[in-house]
């Protein structure tokens, strides 16, 4: 009797492992297609700037767009926190649509690729989501805020940031946006930041724009977070956006006392201006209800709305939620406005983009309208994240 019971339990356990393992395996290896748009002139690997990440999961694709007219250089980071998908989708839209008239643009859709292969442990997040397109739909990995523990494990009791030795939360040892400027002999996350820092130096990047989303209970939201070197640029872009794009975006100054963040360390350790964009994502709010794909894509949640009615939020929300098209459109328009202001002030270092949909166009047509069908792509223009 006992042996039969144990055999039955062992069988049930094996079934659970097979089903869950299959889901995790498939999610980690889901191939996300990128159809290089008309503006892509090269696709490089991040390890070209630092060999220390060659062969690792974070040896990401670097899409390079070069204009005929010389100018400045910009680095766009999507996927620093892959659980904030509007950032990745915005860079995806640029990768597949943007054309550069002047200057150069470097784009990473998966700045922390490892973090795209896992969801928050114990969070019951969906493993992926699909964006509807005119040709069907494109599936993306959901991702997490932190690198996958399969790639970097264990975490320390306390994370000591390099080089400041500031003590941060243990889990942030796997947070790309707490590991800047990185170090060559550090963890995978630190080495990834180091490689990006080397890219910024080698390519003489003028501006780095790191794309994020934030929960509505977080005070830094709907904002451009700017290093002091970029304060004027951010202020002017904020005014232009609020005046002409149809949405409001504020400015937050990068605090000097909080280390490891892109808007602080890139500005301190490289010649580039560092900016970080935050869009609202109710999916991340602690008071949310069911954490599913619908919430991720529609940003509709009655519990977050209730929190807003009680004055607990730093951004407004109603029954319309914060749809993914709105969040992506905020990012594309903010990028365009920042570059337009920059190019107006520094014509010789200007970066001029065309072919990128603005806020109203993304909302009107949906972000899927700007994703290209990989089945119709030339073999040479198809890449995978």
């Amino acid at each position: 009797m006992m042996k039969t019971r144990k055999a039955l339990f062992a069988f049930i356990g094996a079934v659970l492992i097979v089903f869950s393992g299959k889901s995790f395996y498939g999610s980690r290896r889901l191939k996300e297609p990128v159809v290089a748009g008309p503006g892509i002139t090269k696709v490089r690997k991040l390890s070209e700037f630092f060999q220390g990440i060659k062969g690792s999961i974070n040896d990401a694709n670097v899409y390079v767009l070069e204009g005929k007219k010389p100018g400045g250089s910009v680095l766009l980071l999507g996927g620093s926190h892959p659980e904030e998908p509007a950032g990745r989708l915005a860079t995806w839209v640029l990768t597949e649509n943007a054309v550069v008239e002047q200057g150069r643009v470097f784009i990473l859709n998966s700045a922390n690729r490892s973090a795209t292969t896992v969801t928050r442990l114990g969070g019951a997040y969906p493993p992926d989501f699909t964006i509807k397109t005119p040709w069907g739909g494109q599936k993306f990995r959901m991702g997490d805020r932190w690198s996958n523990p399969l790639d970097q494990w264990p975490d320390p009791e306390v994370y000591v940031h390099y080089p400041t030795r500031q003590e941060l939360a243990y889990v942030d040892v796997r947070n790309l946006n707490r590991a800047w400027p990185g170090r060559p002999d550090g963890t995978l996350t630190e080495r990834t930041c180091y490689a990006l820092t080397k890219l910024i130096d080698a390519e003489k990047i003028d501006i780095v724009i790191d794309l994020h989303e934030a929960e509505l209970q977080y005070p830094v939201i709907s904002a451009i977070v700017a290093h002091q070197k970029g304060a004027d640029l951010a202020a002017m872009a904020s005014m232009m956006i609020s005046g002409s794009e149809g949405f409001e975006i504020g400015i937050e100054y990068s605090p000097e006392a909080l280390r490891g963040l892109s808007h602080r360390e890139i500005g301190d350790h490289t010649g580039a201006i560092s900016l970080l964009l935050e869009a609202p994502e109710p999916f991340l709010d602690a008071t949310r209800g069911r954490t599913d794909r619908e919430l991720l894509l529609t940003g509709k949640d009655p519990f977050v709305v209730r929190a807003g009615k009680r004055g607990l939020l730093f951004e407004k929300i109603d029954e319309k939620g914060w749809p993914i098209d709105v969040r992506v459109g905020r990012h594309t328009s903010a990028i365009l406005q920042i570059l337009e202001v920059w190019s107006g002030e520094k014509p010789d270092r200007g970066v001029v983009l065309t072919g990128v949909p603005r806020y109203n166009e993304v909302i009107k047509k949906g972000v899927g309208a700007f994703l290209r069908d990989p089945s119709k792509a030339d073999k040479g223009s198809l890449h995978f994240e």
């Binding site: 144990k6 062992a10 356990g13 995790f24 395996y25 399969l150 494990w153 264990p154």
Partner: protein, 51 residues
């Protein structure tokens, strides 16, 4: 150094998994067996490098 620490942690995980399997086999109460099994799953998934 961090690579060595990772290997040690995988060895510790495997050791804990063996203990859990041993307790599962030796267990007398069905409630304990279910508990060992539930606890065992994440250990095995980590050893198999699935999550």
């Amino acid at each position: 150094m961090s690579g060595l620490v990772t290997i040690v942690y995988y060895a510790m995980t495997a050791f804990a998994a063996v203990l859990l399997i041993w307790n599962f086999i030796r267990g007398k109460r069905w409630q304990d067996e279910v508990l060992y099994l539930i606890v065992l799953i994440p250990f095995l998934l980590r050893i198999l490098r699935l999550k």
